[in-house]
């Protein structure tokens, strides 16, 4: 039989695992510990054969658990194995960490189907038009936002392959860079919370998901920034790879009233003020509306400043005990979410615009956010009962810290800069962003914020997020239908069509959610019995003994562990790596004094590479599926390589400066 080329790769890996195991196993005096290691080698080989992993784990776990019990007392072995298995399975069913998975997955499917990605990409593309490599940058930003909200790599890469890839190719972008930015950007959702990977890691390693989310935020952000930085530098250095956009591509269509008003000058803010005071040919209502939208950034920044002032100068007594200190930090950081508390106490020295705070915020936060708003706001009010005492009189307030004035200065400068740059085109772009980028970003921030600042559990936040996703889907579908109706294409009433479509979306999303959660959670059912068998056989002790006997330094151990995970990422998927191999690494961490939280962040960053490394690079295949026939897989792989390099750099950076990941958890949870 002629073996195909692709198969060789797999067979070679298999042989690399099987041969050392066969050679080094002391067959004559086989202890239970050796059986455990044998089991581990067998599972890797069995997984590579392609049988559903959950059942491979189940079958093997049951068999080896039985072997372990039999070596102690053969007469009870069967009953004990069955007991262990069913208890482990029930443990997965009643796991209060894993319950967040179906909810986040559901939210992802709903957001995916909300049909907002094309608006998102288009508005970001126009907003970033002047940046070098603007289309690639817009692609990465769109991917990061959308992938964070959905978490479905395949869908994000496919959609961006349909939207951004043609746009980049038409603009004369290099194929490899276009492909690389789509695939790398699409995988960001795995790392940036709320991600399912971190829940799975948290459930496996017994690390708080909340802290993982807080920790993964900045590394994810850093990785996205590195990608963008790379693209910008490359575009500056080699403009032939990413030519700047032509004037036609950057053109923003202006509505009639702005065309009329722009005759008076290019600055929209000045023009609008003139139109309000003087008599223009444009209705006053429209002008006021536009003026209000133009002032939104200033109003939002003002609100943040007011809230920061309010919490920074809050009386000191609430910071007496550790518990309250957490609450204090919460109130301080949570300025964006807990508007209502702050609105009551807008400080007097906020001359700029003290009164419209409430109005600014309610307009600034779109509908999905409102659904989630009561929770954080009321909770914040509860958490800081001492703060309300501050309303009594400003005399009790602390002096304003210096950093506040620095922040004030920066914000004022930003507002001034915005006002100066506020052209009519920018106003239109801002309105587009307001309709696409901000709702999604706010949904993510609400979900994340309420989790990280302890206002709700991940489960609750996920449920509210799913609800928000549903509202997003409703709103965007409604808008699309109304547009179609305005163009005279629609049949029947807009509301009815939207309702019908929403029904289909929810139905499909819940079916998909059932399948995805079954896939992940049955894996846990299998790994429950499998890791129990591994522990029963004493495989853990053998591994521990062996690793300790190597006399590694923590640094060496860390590099070794990350290297093993990196290599495993080639043939295996992240679910399998975490569920099967983390239980082996985690008990070793205390021996080397490594924080499991920090380790988890490194693993999450590391597993990003698993999506981009051939041959199981899902992202590449999804992109290939929707790209023009002459784009080859090799070109896509070649495009992904620089981004993989950036991932490794990010990994090294995170290792060298653990504060990137650990700073936020330490501030919020006092770790």
């Amino acid at each position: 039989m002629k073996v195909r080329k692709e198969l060789w790769f797999g067979f070679v890996i298999m042989a690399l695992i099987a041969i050392p195991v066969l050679v080094f196993t002391p067959w004559t005096n086989l202890t239970n510990g050796h059986l455990g290691l044998l089991m581990l080698a067998l599972i890797v080989i069995a997984i590579m054969l392609g049988f559903p992993t959950a059942f491979t784990l189940m079958g093997m776990g049951v068999f080896f658990a039985w072997l372990a019990y039999r070596s102690v007392d053969p007469s009870k072995a069967v009953a004990q194995t069955l007991d262990l298995f069913v208890q482990r399975s029930f443990g997965v069913m009643a796991n209060d960490v894993l319950i967040a998975i179906p909810l986040f997955v559901f939210m992802g499917y709903l957001v995916e189907r909300a049909a907002l990605i094309d608006r998102l990409f288009k508005s970001l593309h126009l907003a970033l038009a002047r940046v070098p490599g603007s289309l690639a940058v817009a692609t990465i930003v769109t991917c990061a936002i959308f992938a964070t909200a959905t978490g479905i790599v395949g869908a994000v890469v496919t959609l961006m392959g349909l939207l951004a890839f043609p746009a980049m190719l038409r603009a004369g972008y290099n194929i490899q860079i276009s492909a690389g930015s789509i695939t790398a950007g699409g995988c960001l959702g795995i790392l940036i919370p709320p991600s399912v990977l971190l829940i799975v890691y948290g459930a496996t390693a017994g690390v708080s998901v909340v802290q993982l989310y807080a920790g993964a935020f900045f590394p994810g952000f850093m990785l996205a920034t590195l990608y963008i930085g790379y693209v910008i530098v490359l575009a500056k250095w080699r403009p032939d790879l990413m030519p700047p956009l032509g004037a036609a591509e950057r053109q923003v269509a202006l509505p009639d009233y702005s065309k009329t008003l722009s005759a008076g000058g290019s600055n929209a803010l000045a023009g609008l003020f003139r139109a309000v005071t003087g008599n223009a040919q444009v209705p006053k209502g429209t002008v006021l509306n536009q003026l209000f939208i133009s002032l939104l950034p200033a109003l939002a920044l003002g609100a943040i400043l007011a809230l920061t002032y309010y919490s920074a100068t809050a009386p000191a007594e609430k910071a007496e005990t550790v518990l309250q200190e957490v609450g204090g930090a919460t109130a301080e950081q949570e300025d964006e979410a807990s508007v209502d508390t702050g609105g009551l106490a807008a400080p007097a020295d906020e001359e700029e615009k003290p009164e419209p705070l409430g109005a600014a915020k309610s307009a600034d936060e779109p509908k999905p956010a409102e659904a989630a708003k009561p929770a954080p706001a009321v909770e914040a009010a509860k958490q800081a009962p001492a703060t309300s005492a501050a309303d009594a009189g400003p005399a009790e307030r602390l002096p304003v810290p210096t950093w506040y004035w620095i922040m004030f200065g920066i914000f004022a400068a930003v507002v001034a800069l915005l006002a100066w740059m506020w052209t009519w085109e920018r106003l239109e772009v801002f309105k587009m962003l307001l309709g696409s980028f901000f709702p999604l970003a706010l949904l993510i921030l609400m979900v994340l914020g309420s989790i990280v600042f302890g206002l709700s559990t991940p489960t609750e936040a996920a449920a509210v997020g799913a609800f928000g996703g549903c509202v997003l889907a409703l709103v965007y579908r409604f808008l699309a239908h109304r547009q179609a109706a305005a163009a005279g294409e629609a049949r029947g009433s807009v509301a009815w069509t939207t309702a019908k479509e929403l029904g289909v979306i929810i139905r499909e999303s819940s079916f998909l959610t059932a399948k995805t959660s079954a896939m992940v959670c049955w894996l846990f059912v299998g790994s429950g019995i499998f890791s129990a068998a591994f522990a029963l056989l004493g495989g853990q002790e053998v591994v521990e003994h062996w690793v300790l006997s190597l006399g590694l330094t923590p640094l060496q151990f860390m590099i070794l562990a990350q290297f093993i995970i990196f290599i495993l990422g080639w043939p295996l998927e992240w679910t399998e790596i975490i569920v099967i191999f983390m239980p082996i690494f985690i008990p070793l961490l205390p021996k080397f004094g490594i924080d499991p939280l920090f380790f988890g962040l490194l693993v999450a960053l590391n597993l990003q590479t698993a999506f981009l490394s051939p041959p199981v690079a899902m992202a590449a295949f999804y992109l290939k599926g929707v790209s023009p026939p002459h784009v080859t897989l090799n070109q896509i792989f070649a495009g992904m390589m620089p981004f993989m390099g950036i991932q490794v750099i990010a990994l090294i950076l995170l290792y060298m400066f653990p504060q990137i990941g650990l700073w936020l958890p330490s501030v919020v949870y006092g770790r």
Partner: protein
């Protein structure tokens, strides 16, 4: 034969899809609970148990559905490069070696686990006066049994595939990445992609 296989598929699918609606219930009930706790100051003790039961039932009952749609994650280093006949032979062997013992053990042990709980009308001990939990434990043998039936169907499929050299068909279902639907969503047509190909060829020639 094919008819029988498909009707078992349909049964598993129907059960899985029926229970998949729990995710809607879960979302709504938790959202309401959050609202009720923070806004109305009226939390419910039994909510914690209720949401766990919804989640547990959801994924356990969807196990057979996922198997019927070939949705359980596979290590895909070699598998997709195998000929269908090779795939089926390995699958058949591993269904017998891994799947059957595991699932039978789960169903058998689950039955006694649930019946013990059922006999004493066990209630949850998470909160005092917790909700009943015995019906939740009964999910284990039920889900195991459906999974077992679906597994036997899959085994028959393997045998058919070995004899005929090709996999028997399955019924279509919603796909996670349904390229045609996504194309429609962002208004991209196949002709556009074809047109784009000319650009790609041009760039290749320019080098």
């Amino acid at each position: 034969m094919q008819k029988l296989l498909l009707s078992v598929d349909k049964l598993s699918t129907w059960i899985g899809q029926f229970f998949s609606w729990l995710i809607v219930g879960l979302t709504l009930s938790i959202t309401w609970e959050v609202f009720s706790r923070y806004a109305l100051d009226h939390p419910h003790d039994w909510m914690f148990d209720a949401m766990l039961q919804m989640y547990g039932t959801l994924f356990m009952m969807a196990g057979a559905y996922t198997l019927a749609k070939n949705g359980h994650v596979r290590g895909d280093v070699l598998y997709s490069f195998f000929r269908p006949r090779t795939q089926a032979s390995w699958d058949l062997l591993l269904y017998i070696v891994f799947f059957l013992p595991g699932t039978i053990a789960l169903t058998y042990a689950g039955y006694f686990y649930a019946s013990d709980s059922w006999m004493i009308r066990e209630h949850s001990s998470v909160t005092s006066d917790g909700p009943p939990i015995y019906q939740f434990k009964a999910v284990i043998p039920l889900a195991g049994a459906i999974l077992l039936v679906q597994g036997i169907v899959e085994i028959i499929r393997c045998i058919i595939c070995i004899r005929e050299g090709d996999w028997p068909s399955r019924e279509a279902d919603v796909q996670e990445v349904d390229v045609d639907k996504l194309k429609e969503m962002v208004h991209v047509k196949d002709e556009d992609i074809q047109k784009l190909d000319a650009l790609v060829v041009k760039q290749e020639h320019a080098k």
